[in-house]
């Protein structure tokens, strides 16, 4: 079984846990044979690499989402980026792609979700980004979804 080590309060640990929970992958949150070690403050790059390595084939995302998710991790609540995502999702809703990279959730969604959710919780209102709020709702409604502690 995969073991997930790292502070449960770290965004990067949460990203990986979210993948495990949503993709229905068994794991335990401690040391283990196939070790993923993530400490608090770990780099987004490491988390993304772990996501791409561990994600099942249908959870893989186009490489361009790496750049977008990294930008978001570096400067959460950046208006231009939120606007881009909102616009992308609005057209996605009309074109049968309710998730960021596809018709089903992938690591693209997982890479971007924590920042969006945290900005919501931190009171940076998502009011100007209706499609982003609907997308966050869709992710929250997936079986296995767990919130950020």
């Amino acid at each position: 079984m995969i073991a997930l080590a790292g502070s449960p309060l770290s965004r990067e640990t949460y990203r990986i846990r979210l993948l495990f929970d949503l993709a229905g992958m068994a794991y335990e949150q401690k040391d283990g044979p196939d070790l993923v070690i993530l400490a608090e403050g770990d780099r987004f790059e490491d988390a993304w690499r772990a996501l791409s390595r561990l994600a099942p084939p249908d959870w893989q995302a186009d490489g361009r989402w790496f750049a977008i998710a990294r930008r978001l991790a570096a400067s959460p609540a950046e208006t231009a980026l939120f606007r881009e995502l909102d616009q992308h999702l609005w057209f996605g809703e009309r074109e049968g792609q309710p998730f960021l990279g596809s018709e089903h959730p992938t690591v693209a969604d997982i890479g971007c979700f924590p920042e969006v959710m945290m900005s919501d919780q931190a009171g940076v209102s998502l009011l100007p980004y209706p499609a982003l709020r609907r997308w966050a709702d869709r992710l929250r409604g997936l079986p296995g979804f767990t919130g950020f502690p």
């Binding site: 606007r83 616009q87 609005w90 057209f91 809703e93 009309r94 209102s125 998502l126 009011l127 100007p128 980004y129 209706p130 709020r133 609907r134 709702d137 409604g141």
Partner: protein, 355 residues
């Protein structure tokens, strides 16, 4: 109000609904009250506004108080009855009285009906002019269940006779606040109009609601709550507010609701204001384009609006310095992407980011 009625004891809660140590908000004759039950049968009551203690008596499994000075002790019951549940109803207390004053019923109190043949009683708590809480009583468990069933069946019938108090379209200033497709199933849409935050949601019967984004209990934003399909649940203490009326099923609380009309694929509302109807766009087929959020006052946006055939633009003043541009297209030859390009360029121009 009639002094005699004011000086009466009035029921304000079933004793069992007061949890020791917890404040219980309720309402009597338009007055917000707070009840607490430090222990056992000891209950204190005071108006939320003044804090001056009111007389209290605990009898027949219920808490009674008075906004005046009761001259006499509360009436007796010929046999013991137990609380069977309390329900809010959007009907004046007199109408509930009428509905239950059938043959053989007696009224030991202006707002209480005792039905000896059924071994049941009804204590009515007048909340405001057109609302009350009905406290049901019966002798045993079977009687309590029957009383609840009977009342649950009667409640919608009584309520449906009450005229809706909502302003009619055409009596205010109407703005689009969302597109119909924004209100996804089980979603709560968040927007604002003239600084007033709104929570919009569609129930499972497709009815759209435009509500103030504020829980009447402690003012928590309803947009962080849950759309249950028939009601909205507040995230904080779980109070639920019914689609349409915005009323809480159990407690005398109500969300502020605004009129809502869906037309041309947009959701329109009005906070009331200068008379101005929803624009009449005729019978053409209108398709909403993606609304664009602009960080600028409405007047600045209005000054920049282009005129194009087959495209109608409407402004939603979100607050003093934020505006949403809604658009309707009647030209199927222009794609939604093209419209979006036009509107995002317009946004950038208004915001001054691009010449």
């Amino acid at each position: 109000m009639d002094r005699v009625v004011l000086d009466e004891w009035h029921v304000v809660a079933a004793l069992e609904s007061l949890l020791p140590g917890q404040e219980f908000p309720t309402r009597l004759f338009n007055t917000d009250l707070t009840l607490v039950r430090p222990a056992g049968d000891i209950v204190a009551a005071w108006p939320a506004a003044s804090g001056k203690a009111l007389p209290v008596c605990v009898r027949h499994g219920h808490v009674w108080t008075s906004l005046g000075t009761p001259a006499e002790p509360l009436f007796d019951l010929p046999f013991p009855l137990a609380a069977a549940g309390s329900m809010a109803i959007d009907v004046p207390p007199e109408r509930v009285l009428d509905a239950f004053r059938d043959d053989g019923a007696v009224t030991p109190h202006p707002y209480c009906v005792l039905r000896e043949h059924a071994a049941a009683a009804l204590f009515i708590q007048p909340v405001d002019d057109d609302r009350c809480i009905v406290h049901l009583l019966a002798r045993d468990e079977a009687g309590r269940a029957a009383a609840r069933l009977e009342f649950a069946a009667l409640k919608p019938i009584l309520e449906s006779q009450v005229p809706e108090g909502l302003p009619q379209p055409g009596t205010g200033s109407w703005y689009p606040v969302a597109s119909s497709s924004d209100l996804a199933p089980r979603h709560i849409f968040h927007t604002a109009l003239a600084g007033q935050e709104l929570a919009l949601w569609r129930d499972d019967a497709c009815l759209a609601n435009v509500w103030e984004n504020r829980c009447p209990h402690r003012g928590v934003r309803l947009t962080i709550g849950t759309n249950l399909g028939t009601a909205l649940r507040c995230q904080y203490h779980g109070w639920e507010f019914a689609s349409g009326s915005g009323r809480c099923a159990i407690l005398p609380a109500r969300v502020t609701t605004y009129p809502c009309v869906e037309r041309y694929g947009l959701v329109w509302t009005s906070l009331a204001g200068a008379p101005e109807d929803i624009p009449d766009l005729g019978a053409a087929y209108w398709q909403p384009v993606r609304a664009v959020f602009v960080e600028a006052p409405m007047a600045e946006a209005a000054a920049e609006l282009p005129h194009r055939d087959g495209l109608k633009l409407f402004l939603q003043p979100v607050s003093d310095d934020r505006t949403v541009i809604h658009g309707l297209s009647s030209d199927p030859a222009v794609s939604l992407r093209e419209h979006d390009e036009l509107l995002t360029r317009l946004r950038d121009r208004i915001e001054g980011g691009e010449a």
